[in-house]
Subunit: 421 residues, 2 copies
Amino acid sequence: MGTARVVFDRWDGRYAARMTGVRSSAVRDLFAAASRPDVISLSGGMPDVRRVPAEAVLRATREVLEHQGATALQYGASEGRLQLRETIVGLMGESGVRLRVDDLIVTAGAQQGLDLLAKVFLDPGDTVICEGPTYVGALQAFSAYQPRIVHVPLDERGMDTDALEELLASVGPRGAKFIYTIPNFQNPAGVTMCPERRRRLIELAHEYDIPIVEDDPYGRLRFEGGHILPLRALDPDVIHLGTFSKIFAPGMRLGWMAAPRPILAKVLLAKQAADLCGSAFTQAVAEVYFTGTGWRRVLADLTGAYGERRDAMLSALDEHFPPEVTWTHPEGGFFVWVTLPSYLDTKSLLAEAVELGVTFVPGADFASDGSFRNCLRLAFCYEQPEQIVEGIRRIAEVIDDKLELYRAFAAAGAVPAGTRP
Amino acid sequence: MGTARVVFDRWDGRYAARMTGVRSSAVRDLFAAASRPDVISLSGGMPDVRRVPAEAVLRATREVLEHQGATALQYGASEGRLQLRETIVGLMGESGVRLRVDDLIVTAGAQQGLDLLAKVFLDPGDTVICEGPTYVGALQAFSAYQPRIVHVPLDERGMDTDALEELLASVGPRGAKFIYTIPNFQNPAGVTMCPERRRRLIELAHEYDIPIVEDDPYGRLRFEGGHILPLRALDPDVIHLGTFSKIFAPGMRLGWMAAPRPILAKVLLAKQAADLCGSAFTQAVAEVYFTGTGWRRVLADLTGAYGERRDAMLSALDEHFPPEVTWTHPEGGFFVWVTLPSYLDTKSLLAEAVELGVTFVPGADFASDGSFRNCLRLAFCYEQPEQIVEGIRRIAEVIDDKLELYRAFAAAGAVPAGTRP
């Protein structure tokens, strides 16, 4: 099912104004192509759930149904089950964040947290500050509430806080509803915000009285370097989004939001309106799964595998990509961000890549303003190392072809299709 | 956690305008009181999941994890898993609605369907037509998008289509974004729309070119009378919401929306922004649970139990409630709607009822305009017949006390607290 197939809509003109800003995610649109068995997927940020032992999930489910069936099958509290919130308090404590159970609610993945925050904070025309590039799902969630989205550039040390300071000076105190950041192994850029910039970001947020929204899906998937304290550990006013999708399974649709209690009370009302409550069944299964130590071994195994895949990807990039191309060096997470010469358009490269049996996500998806058309995101989380190497080889082929074509045309004083002067 | 405890909110004035219209549901606020073991709950619409065999759910989960673990633990399609959509097509077929899998999407309960429809259709100030009284969760979902909500009265044959016609004449063609109805065993009124009015509603909707939203959570829980075709069976333009909460378990958070495909495409975009996709895990478990015939025996058992409880409630009402009080006669579903003399305020009765160890929901929660203050909703779905009888006896005691007090005061030419002249 896709909007593309809709020829005539007799309800056209009757939808809410907000729907004009909501576009489909190229990442999700690619799911169909990416799930063809012959295609190497370097596009989707899908964790390798094949490494999560089905037996452990079944054991957890059995315990839930034997001892807690009556509550696990019933409607539950909107804020989430108490025991799962206690589990989350424990997990966050290991990351250096001290919380009480009443400082957080359970959400349907971190994505629902983004939607609820936008619903609670954004009137049409309000400003939201995001990194550039940023998570496409955040752009989707925010866009439905018609904000003005402004991007702050990133480099290898994360969000450029000098650029942020300039931007804040121009919008003024309370001039944006919030600042959205993914400090660890950023999606899509793969970069991590250094401790100095974290502290500076918090100073600036207080100076301009603008809440920070910290989205941290990948924080526990580090395979190089030492742990850096989350923003929420440095400042209790930070709104923090977490998820079980990367440390357990996305199929459970479980995440959380920690926030100052007055904000959390508003978010809870918005959640009740959105779905009454989350799944008590998956919450209860997660509670049991995170008892004991088995999940730690699974997570260590996953992180080790992601590290090997990143290594395979970085080596293959070194070997196959031409010198005009640069890329980031992620210390964890799922993604490498690739920058091609400015005259190449990765959207037009994608069709050729899919023909060669490999997918990536074009960079323009990760900004609200059409930037990053010469960039692309590579995911190393899903495929085996050999597939990753082969995928990179195929993408390199597409890029080489295009560069050669460009050089030939340029020598003749013209510009080939799919490139820009 | 509750807004009541929040003393000072330094973010006050920074929330979106829509949040001023979003209030907490009294039904949900009562969950805490209602879950005290000594309190008889005639408030919450909680299905009796103790009758859903844990063993059947465990068997389904085992089959899922053994054969489909890799997809059940992963992100899934936003529109829902194909096999579950096929199951829904089968279920709807049994109710007389012919659908294809592409005519529907899976939602997080029917509540998410309400939220997504409001998100897709409502600009601030748009008119929405609802029954009066209507489902409190719909009022919550819609209110977040700042519509003007207009109520059409109900009687024992459902929505009063003459009153609707008058209303439509005043708002004019396309003068409302949609007409929301719960035709079967309405929440909270317990009444069912007769076939003649269903046909008339559809005629009027076409005449004024306004979509109908049909919410049908209870349609399969009929214990008296014959099946009546859903509105969607009579008109493919009707948007239909269904749920697994009452035929399986609310803890799965699974529902569905069938709608014309252009509308569904918009709703799907809104769903992606809201939570990316539903839980593949609970969807897969439901797929297996609805294979075979075991679920039919469970549903027949549930429906039989609800029928007995309704009988117990109606007999107890006959026996204990004073002649000034009237109530509806539901042929299925969960609820009886009670109308007290106009000078009684059920919100003030509730506190006294809770002291006596019984809960109900005051009528004013079921309208956007403060109507129905002398009404209340009774749920017979959750407690055993003996508890129901005892609960009704206690509520009768509260009402009798108040009526006696009122008569005494009235004789003295005054009005007691908690009543209106």
